[in-house]
Symmetry: none
Subunit: 253 residues, 2 copies
């Protein structure tokens, strides 16, 4: 029988399962644990940490929730962390369709919305007069229970006046457009940058200080070529990678 680790403290005000989860997460990221992509069996971990199997299971469940681990009945528990979700950027880019199949539990929240005078860059992108009324939508998307992106989108307030309500009902931009009479739209341009997460990003995307965010600035147009949406989206860089098929020039379809 292996010696229990002295690192786990009882009666410290920190639950054993949390101490174990934190330790496993760190060791996984260091490659000390589960380096083959496979974790030791629950019983082995329980012996190693000197706790009951159920306590280890609670720790594992927390890491599964975080997306660090994946447990398969009969097979074992596997390291999931390094795999990023691939977000394809095409002419017909739809958020939920892009991630469907790669993740379970895709969901979007409407955090805030308002009607305001268009800022200058928004007005230019949407080909509106500066100061025209636009709808601003603040949304956040989750995959597998973890936030992956935070978007700020603007729409012409005249053409898409029911946008916020439509999104609240459908939780999808594509479905909201359809509800408002726009059945198809295309990605006109996407600009990608990266920077350190600011405090807002940390909170919205549940990141750790120092994390990196990918920022995309996108313009969508209808089939006539008129801009319908201008958006700035921040992706958690450790959870998402952007895929641009055919160097971004693919015709789509």
């Amino acid at each position: 029988m292996q010696m229990a680790e002295a690192i786990i403290e009882r009666r410290s005000g920190v639950a054993l399962w949390r101490q174990i989860a934190d330790r496993m997460r760190r060791e996984i990221s260091q490659g000390t644990l589960g380096s083959e992509g496979r974790m030791p069996p629950e019983m082995a971990l329980a012996e190693r940490f000197g706790v009951n199997r159920h306590t280890v299971r609670t720790a594992i469940a927390a890491l599964v929730q975080e997306g660090v681990l994946r447990a398969e009945q009969g097979r074992g528990t596997f390291v999931e962390g390094r795999k990023r979700l691939a977000y394809p950027i095409r002419n017909r880019t739809r958020f939920s369709e892009g991630l469907a199949g790669q993740s379970r539990g895709l969901a979007a929240d409407l955090l805030d919305h308002a009607v305001e005078a268009a800022p200058i860059d928004v007005a230019r992108a949407l080909k509106l007069a500066p100061g025209s009324p636009v709808i601003r939508l603040e949304t956040r998307s989750h995959a597998d229970g973890r936030p992956v992106s935070r978007a700020r989108s603007w729409f012409d307030a005249h053409r898409f006046s029911g946008m916020a309500e439509a999104f609240e009902g459908t939780r999808s931009i594509t479905a909201s457009f359809r509800k408002l009479g726009l059945v198809d739209y295309l990605r006109q341009s996407t600009t990608v940058t990266a920077r350190h997460a600011d405090t807002g990003d940390l909170k919205d995307l549940k990141l750790s200080p120092g994390a990196i965010v990918l920022v995309t600035i996108a313009i969508n147009v209808d089939t006539e070529g008129s801009p319908v949406q201008y958006s700035e989206t921040r992706f958690a860089a450790d959870r998402i990678e952007l895929h641009i098929p055919g160097a971004g020039t693919e015709a789509g379809g």
Copy 2:
């Protein structure tokens, strides 16, 4: 009734009293809480954090144990943090013994070490020829989880060749000497100065710009009177005060 803080999370695997204790410790050190030296009453804190008074009491008890707070029945709870640890300078000065009893969680780190040619003042103090090989140890000490001192020590590389490894194992100069065959030593001289912390001090001792450091230059000798250690130590002046019993002339014992 005041709004409870959103920072306290339930069911997170971290006990509420520990979250509250950690938060109070941080706010006290920032001066946001108890800045007058007096803490708000337990009931007020309980309302602020949205928990029962007893939960706050558990958090306070932990900080009292750490030496951050002091509770007086009938009067209130007071900030004890500003009280400096007393570091006695005697003929038999040993760092960890001097602070034992005043603090819990005394610890020392080895930050760096090297063998180098003795600088002129080091050579003179250790009675070596200038340029003789000496071992330089860069160490840092913590009390109650806060860094209190940063020392640079030199030893004769011939006589104490295993010093760095010994310190790494024992984390104590006294114990390292013993391991290398020196069972007793005396403080020959100590020189004390003070200055503003430089950027290195700020980083090493986690100080705020403008902070003051006490600098001691010390020579330790063996029972024959031969110098065994020359060291320059910087103390965080807001956390440590130096005590020289009997004007530094006490015989020790």
